[in-house]
């Protein structure tokens, strides 16, 4: 990864669009993030300017506009941090640190990129889709949720960019079933090489990793563990990663060594070995 300038400063909100269901598109002015961010990277952001708790929250960067020096986040109101962010009015500021983390690696030429999104995990794939199109590569976005209400960006994403395959567990739109089922069906029908990229709930990421493993495909997953600082110092977002040649997994910070990891190197819950709750824990 290239060395990037990370900037910590107040980012004014320039545009706010409610999508219903507690979903918002929030556009902030923050030059470094707008100019340098790549798909899969994130910002740590918080409404207001006080250094008092709560902590900033990590959000994937959905789109950037380098000319206007703005970037857009796709945010769902979940807890206090995201609610305060969605309550900002244009002109009000948020504390923003970014761009942070390791981005998705574009596939080699001639390899189809299959982007797998669960719920608001779709955020990084607008930027990634645009990158793929710019390179003339082929790609497809599989966008899944429980119901059509979990896919508030479906119309917008379908209007341009890479082709979108929706999937809902209740069948209210698109493929009836889990999004990974739609991906498996697609893989059954193609001959050329493909690579998987996934962002969403952990169970979905794990399913994508298994799918990739079964078919000997490379896959990258964007993990979303609880994150405190974004700079690798609080050590709360560590995930067990076992790189090639390592005898056992090592805890690595998702904020600095991820959030995008090679799916085959992640030690998924339930697969864990020596690291978990053993003699070493707490020592």
């Amino acid at each position: 990864m290239i060395a990037q300038m990370v900037a910590n400063r107040i980012a004014p909100l320039v545009h706010r669009e409610g999508l219903g269901g507690g979903y918002f598109l929030l556009t902030f002015r923050h030059r470094e993030t707008a100019v340098e961010a790549r798909a899969g990277q994130f910002v740590m952001i918080k409404a207001g300017s006080s250094a008092e708790l709560p902590l900033r929250r990590p959000f994937s960067i959905m789109t950037t506009d380098p000319e206007r020096e703005t970037f857009t986040l796709f945010v769902k109101e979940v807890g206090a941090g995201s609610r305060a962010l969605c309550a900002l009015s244009p002109g009000e500021g948020a504390q923003c640190l970014g761009p942070l983390g390791r981005h998705f690696t574009p596939p080699p030429e001639g390899t189809e990129a299959l982007l797998v999104a669960g719920g608001y995990g779709v955020a990084p794939f607008q930027l990634f889709g645009a990158l793929l199109q710019g390179r003339g590569g082929s790609g497809r976005l599989f966008y899944g949720g429980r119901t059509a209400l979990d896919l508030p960006l479906l119309d917008r994403l379908s209007r341009g960019g890479v082709p979108v395959v929706p999937a809902t567990e209740d069948g209210s739109v698109g493929h009836h079933g889990r999004v990974t089922g739609a991906v498996a069906e697609w893989l059954d029908g193609i001959r050329g090489p493909a690579r998987l990229y996934a962002c969403g709930p952990e169970a979905m990421l794990h399913a994508v990793a298994r799918l990739a493993g079964e078919r000997a495909l490379a896959a990258e997953v964007s993990l979303d563990p609880w994150m405190g600082c974004g700079l690798g110092t609080c050590l709360s977002c560590v995930v067990p990663i076992q790189r090639r040649g390592e005898a056992r997994p090592k805890y690595r910070c998702a904020c600095t060594e991820g959030p995008v990891f090679d799916a085959a190197r992640v030690v998924w819950p339930g697969e864990a070995s020596s690291r978990e709750h053993g003699e070493e824990a707490g020592a």
Binding site: A7, K46, A51, E52, L53, L55, C229, V238, A281, A283
Partner: protein, 317 residues
């Protein structure tokens, strides 16, 4: 206007020091902020060998607080000295190393490794981490052990020795005096308070380790009280720590008798917090016509209290 302070012969540009465990090894902030603007910083706690730390989740937010059980994940002191220290030494700032051990001998050995290394201005002795099963609080919760470990570190190094005291004791002055008698040059007060947060859906602790150490504004009045008590009990300088996120928070500790302060949890909320507190502090000094920050140390006007406390108990006699 003078903002610099001296502790154990070490000159800090200003009284604002980034606290151990909230500032990594400092180098993580290269490019994000100017490390030379800090009064100083304290590296994340280091043992002799690398540590994996505790299982996740390791951090939980509570009202105005942060509960953590990281478990002192770290690279080990030798790797640190070889690989990280040269990068730290490039920055014009005071760097203290927080040292840990499972045994008294380990503390002393870590101190010896640090002793000859360039780029280390002093040692903060971590006898108060609540999140490890061995060592840590075992040394900080028994005044005889505090005395023993501080004396061993004192013997092992010529660097300033600054024990970091635990608030999880009935009377912090007993520990402050034990550390002073053992040869400490200054004290850091306080580490985190032992806490427990429960997920009511699963009825399990919210942290994988179970209990954790509470930090942040929630603990500030306790920290100010304990730092104040410690500062009145000893004649060595005290560095105040606990929930500082603005200049008035820092000033409370200084007025209570601390010569400097450490900023911890607020670094996570805003990596630029140091710069903000520094400018607020300068504004306050201008407004109050204070020329030298040292002038306000220990100026607490506490009605009915004698200027110096009675020293009526010996610790390790």
């Amino acid at each position: 206007m003078n903002l610099s302070v001296e502790i154990a012969g070490v000159r800090f540009k200003n009284p604002l020091i980034a606290a151990s465990g909230t500032f990594g090894y400092g180098v993580e902030y290269e490019g994000v902020l100017d490390l030379s603007r800090l009064g100083g910083f304290v590296s994340k706690g280091l043992y002799l060998e690398p540590r994996e730390g505790n299982p996740t989740p390791r951090l939980a937010e509570t009202p105005s607080g942060l509960l953590n059980a990281i478990g002192l994940q770290g690279v080990g002191i030798r790797t640190f000295v070889r690989d990280v220290l040269p990068r730290i030494a490039r920055h014009d700032t005071v760097h203290l190393v927080n040292i840990c051990g499972d045994t008294v001998e380990e503390y002393a050995e870590v101190a010896r490794v640090c002793d000859g290394a360039p780029g280390i201005a002093g040692l903060e002795v971590n006898i108060s981490c609540p999140n490890v099963k061995k060592g840590g609080l075992a040394f900080g919760g028994d005044p005889r052990m505090t005395h023993e470990v501080v004396a061993a570190v004192r013997k092992a190094t010529r660097l300033p020795v600054i024990p970091k005291l635990s608030p999880n004791v009935a009377d912090i002055t007993v520990f402050a005096r034990a550390a002073e008698e053992a040869g400490a040059d200054a004290l850091s007060c306080i580490n985190t308070l032992l806490g427990l947060a429960i997920d009511v859906e699963t009825r399990r602790p919210r942290l994988a380790f179970g209990t954790g150490g509470l930090s942040g504004p929630a603990i500030r009045p306790i920290a100010v009280r304990m730092a104040w008590q410690a500062a009145r009990a000893v004649s060595i300088p005290v560095i105040g720590i606990g929930g500082i996120s603005c200049a008035s928070d820092a000033l409370e500790f200084l007025i209570a008798g601390c010569r400097a302060v450490q900023i911890g949890t607020a670094n996570f909320v805003d990596p630029g917090v140091h710069e903000r507190i520094l400018s607020e502090l300068q504004e306050w000094m201008e407004r109050q016509r204070v020329e030298d920050i040292g002038q306000i140390v220990g100026t607490l006007d506490y009605p009915g209290l004698s200027p110096t406390p009675a020293r009526d108990s010996e610790v390790c006699g």
